[in-house]
């Protein structure tokens, strides 16, 4: 028997992600989103997705702007210091994009429940929040059978596909991460299928040297794609920082639906290697990596 090889190309994602799927998107804030896969979803014209994010930013905004979503589940979507997410705002305020806004812990605990094969998990949840009232399909009251305490049950979340970005993997699918992990690991446990883009595919010997860096076991991975700088313009800590310069440019393009179409043309609808040249190529990559290394402790 040969050792199985899960390494695919970006264009192979259509073997796993189908129109209408519920897709959990890894990363958090402006960090670690699987942006190369996101761009490939747009290139592949995959439609009617339900995106699931805990704390999303440009990943969600881009998918919304490109028209890939029919629904959104989130606890937070923002461009942080760069402002509110423009396509996200437009789609909800003007176009009525259907969405489920769930508190952050309920998304995390819901994914945990999905991963561990229970339909719910209880916690001392957000009593008093209107979000509980608005989305009863995600929150129910439940009484502890031992103490009688009233708790909130968070409903299990089971994505069809999880997509995350990581530092490295071997071809069998053992995944290493060295920085912010967000809810990536919980998404991988909960989802039915999983795609991981990585900075580098390495021989298994490299994985065995540092098992403590491996965060997802191979049996929770269906496809590995080598995509250097694959989280750009978000970060891959501690290897490169987010690209503030590109994000400022994105915010300009995204200021209107019309100019945003041009962003998609200028940056997304071309091969990934050309994207990497368009955002500044090797020099910009060096800047982002150097900034990530040059930190000063007090």
């Amino acid at each position: 028997m040969p050792i199985e090889n899960k390494v695919g190309k970006l264009s192979d994602i259509t073997k796993i992600i189908k129109d209408g799927d519920k897709v959990a998107i890894g990363g958090s804030w402006l960090g670690g989103h699987p942006m190369a896969i996101i761009r490939e979803i747009i290139r592949s014209k995959i439609k009617d997705l339900t995106a699931i994010t805990v704390v999303g930013s440009i990943d969600i905004d881009l998918l919304i702007g490109a028209g890939c979503l029919k629904r959104l589940m989130f606890s937070f979507v923002s461009m942080e210091a760069f402002g509110l997410a423009p396509n996200f705002r437009r789609a909800i305020e003007k176009e009525g994009l259907p969405y489920d806004e769930i508190t952050g812990l309920a998304v995390i605990i819901g994914l945990e429940a999905g991963g561990r094969n229970v339909p719910f998990l209880p916690y001392r949840g957000p009593f008093g929040s209107d979000l509980v009232k608005y989305r009863p399909e995600f929150y129910k009251n439940i009484k502890c059978p031992f103490t009688g305490e009233e708790l909130i049950a968070a409903a299990a979340i089971v994505p069809d596909v999880a997509i995350i970005h990581a530092v490295r993997a071997d071809k069998t699918g053992n995944i290493q991460m060295e920085g912010t992990t967000g809810t990536d690991i919980e998404m991988m446990r909960a989802a039915k299928k999983r795609i991981v883009s990585v900075e580098e595919v390495v021989p298994s010997e490299e994985i065995w040297k540092h098992p403590e860096k491996t965060k997802v076991p191979k049996f929770q991975v269906d496809m590995v794609i080598e995509a250097p700088l694959g989280a750009h313009p978000t970060s891959c800590a501690p290897h490169y920082v987010f690209d503030a310069w590109h994000i400022m440019k994105y915010m300009e393009y995204a200021a209107s639906a019309e100019t945003f179409k041009k962003y998609v043309q200028d940056y997304v609808m071309k091969p990934e290697w050309e994207y990497l040249e368009a955002i500044g190529g090797m020099r910009q990559a060096s800047i982002l990596r150097r900034l990530a290394r040059e930190v000063k402790f007090l």
Partner: protein, 285 residues
């Protein structure tokens, strides 16, 4: 004897005021990248609270670092004592009520301890769709203290009742908190005008400190709900010269903490200037 600074920004004043909320040994949580909060916690850590445990991104108990607009995440990661996932964070800190401080901000806040990060207007027909609350709706109940900071104290922000309750402190008085298994602690808002505190469900926010030059009327007229106004309100302690020096030279040489206070049209220019300094620092500008 303390030498108070004569020259400081309102951001610096809020920053040192927030830093005082950190007690030595506290577990301090950072969510989104909020420069003012980062600067406060790092200042506290290198001065009066070296045993505080700072958490940000996946990094636990990270070493205090020099803040920059773009490098907070890699700095925290590279200086961490432990790395974990959000679920491990929940299991070790949030659900247990083990966090002491996580300064939050909000689009609207009201007299009941509710915050709104969801929408302005009706939920199904928003005038403004906000970012959402991330973990804030839940952790403001769980952490020992609920600390908010508001760079623009106004009736737009401090409303009688928030349009949508994204989250709420829920358990406010010491007794109800202890009874429900959480540690007691106040709701305290640090704004560009004052420090105000709410400690009981049935009592209003009280003005504790007025920033230098601010009058109680200024606060009252900019707040959309009734306040307790003590007959004598002390002035917020000014930053010391040493604190200002530490902030400007050590903690935050790029001036990230002042970013939130720049008027809308100046922000982009200020941001570009900060980023250019970062490029210069690594020899790429």
């Amino acid at each position: 004897m303390k030498q108070y600074a004569k020259d400081y920004t309102v951001g610096e004043l809020m920053c040192v005021t927030l830093a005082k909320e950190i007690e030595d040994g506290d577990v301090v949580v950072l969510g989104s990248f909020t420069p003012l909060a980062y600067a406060s916690y790092i200042l506290a850590k290198i001065t009066h609270a070296p045993n505080s445990c700072l958490l940000a991104y996946a990094a636990v108990d990270f070493r205090p670092f020099q803040l920059s607009f773009i490098r907070a995440e890699s700095s925290a990661t590279r200086g961490s004592a432990l790395m974990w996932t959000m679920l491990e964070d929940l299991n070790s800190v949030h659900l247990k009520g083990r966090g002491d401080v996580e300064a939050i901000s909000s689009i609207q806040a009201d007299q009941y301890g509710n915050i709104n990060l969801s929408v302005v207007g009706e939920y199904d027909r928003p005038k403004l769709r906000g970012p959402g609350g991330a973990g804030a709706p839940e952790v403001i109940k769980m952490h020992r203290k609920m600390i908010g900071y508001f760079p623009g104290h106004s009736k737009m922000t401090f409303v009688p009742k928030v349009d949508v309750i994204t989250g709420t402190r829920y358990l406010i008085g010491a007794q109800e908190r202890i009874k429900s298994g959480y540690r007691p602690g106040p709701i305290r808002y640090i704004t560009n005008l004052c420090v105000m505190t709410k400690e009981e469900r049935d009592k209003p926010f009280r003005i504790d400190f007025l920033h230098p030059g601010v009058k109680a009327e200024d606060v009252v007229s900019n707040t959309g709900f009734p306040l307790e106004v003590p007959s004598s309100i002390p002035e917020t302690e000014k930053p010391t010269e040493e604190q200002v020096r530490l902030l400007r030279e050590e903690v935050d040489p790029y001036g990230t903490l002042n970013f939130d206070f720049k008027p809308g049209k100046e922000r982009l220019g200020y941001l570009k200037e900060m980023l250019n300094k970062e490029l210069q620092a690594i020899g790429y500008a």
